[in-house]
Symmetry: C2
Subunit: 326 residues, 2 copies
Amino acid sequence: MKDKIRIAVIGYGNLGKGVEKAVKQNPDIELQAIFTRRNPADIDSNNSNLVHISKVNEYKEKIDVMILCGGSATDLGEQGPIMAAHFNTIDSFDTHAKIPQYFNKMDSVSKSAKTVSLISTGWDPGLFSLNRLLGQVVLPKGKDYTFWGKGVSQGHSDAIRRIKGVKGGIQYTVPIKETLEKVRNGENADFTTREKHERVCYVVPEEGADLNKIEQEIKNMPNYFVDYNTTVNFISEEELKEKHSGMPHGGFVIRSGKTEGGVNQMMEFSLKLESNPEFTSSVLVAYARAVNRFAKEGRTGAITVLDVPFAYLSPKSGSELRKELL
Amino acid sequence: MKDKIRIAVIGYGNLGKGVEKAVKQNPDIELQAIFTRRNPADIDSNNSNLVHISKVNEYKEKIDVMILCGGSATDLGEQGPIMAAHFNTIDSFDTHAKIPQYFNKMDSVSKSAKTVSLISTGWDPGLFSLNRLLGQVVLPKGKDYTFWGKGVSQGHSDAIRRIKGVKGGIQYTVPIKETLEKVRNGENADFTTREKHERVCYVVPEEGADLNKIEQEIKNMPNYFVDYNTTVNFISEEELKEKHSGMPHGGFVIRSGKTEGGVNQMMEFSLKLESNPEFTSSVLVAYARAVNRFAKEGRTGAITVLDVPFAYLSPKSGSELRKELL
């Protein structure tokens, strides 16, 4: 039997917990530790995998791949390069505009340290990026469309919760069906922001708050809501907890193209996820196999999902895969 | 400016003609020749790319990648190894059961000749295989479903045309919508052949033929029709030509899985193609870039789509792709 791939996680939020779950479905992968900035005993004294982050360097020889489960906005920019100096890493860095800069930093650190760092994986960036690329190369004459949802946007939910008089709330991004159908029918038009997605908010107001004022403030918020048709629903705290504590998400990447002579050809990839973080974690764990294999081959530096052959994501051999999947 | 990738084609059927069209949409790729067993002047004296197959060896230094556009049943088993001994090759070998054996043969020839041979690309095997693999690695607890159509099945159309009293005809494979919806709703059931697809035939009978006999013969044909609900429509030769000379196809690969604790997660990839051969050819041309790049890196032997990073399919640099697509 082959040695198991030894992974560890930094950060015990939704993503870290998702990795902990995903490992249970992948018998060739073993979770060695979950590093946290908090006191492990305060989190869960029954979880023997929890280790304080100060001990991470003691694990240098015990971990094949470190999965960085912090957020792009606050953690990864700093944590990524520090960890890549000691470990092979995977992360889900998703601040699109800063990816080139983050890649260069991680590449330089990893090359010096002779490690491999796979950045920006998950589903977007990640599986959606792969499908955008595939669409463009197979159908060079065509258009890409990405729709997100129906799903919870953390950023927009946070924006609602910062409003005065709001006790709690959540925001769903919803793709507009009519536009999705137009794309699928090969119309190849350009659509405005408003035509592609709508925003649906569920808001718990504080007692005595001015509901009309809250609604107007949400609907007119620049960048976040003003360019969309937004619906605001006021609900109770109980209802928020009961009906809106899941983290569903998903979306569609569509390539609508034409081969020569105007022949319509359509490619579509879609996800419908009951748990966005658990799915993202499952993607990270599959890509841990690839990072381990790149490292075993002696490659170093930063890579992305675009650099990884799919065969590297599987525990099966090339001949098994060819027999079963082609 | 980078040198263009020089390709050639063997076989001037639907697939070869599709490659000829696809090259027009890919300015970094240049078509050097289309080799045919027929007399080029008999096919099209205005097409200066047509060359008799007997001259193929004169092109050894002029071609980076040879695209084999013959069929699996009759041509590729023999032609593949002969060509791989002299050229980097791509083919769409699709006799599923014989793929492992064909791979081994191509691998051995290519390794000796220091060439690269990418076998079994297109959409199934090909893009569908990639999506089946992706589904399995990201959601190890789940089920795969592949539906084909609506599209023309060449094998089934041929079977109809062999029946006595049939002058012409075509067969469409049609996925059954209700079953597709059940899969999308996460039912994770097993479905029979009959529940997944139906078969719709358009038949031109010879004058005076026994229509009832033809219909029964089709519906009861073992392997091809007996396990399906089959509809037989009799039409005129004009109608066949007018309404059924396109070659549409498509299909769906769905992975319906669960992350730990029974959380439903769904991945779907689908194609809706007005021209099956032109789309397949477009896939072959994109993969020609990857074969050329593998060869330039000094790799040899047989590979499949599972071994190719998507970045290799694009004429763009890694940094352009990261900036535009992640």
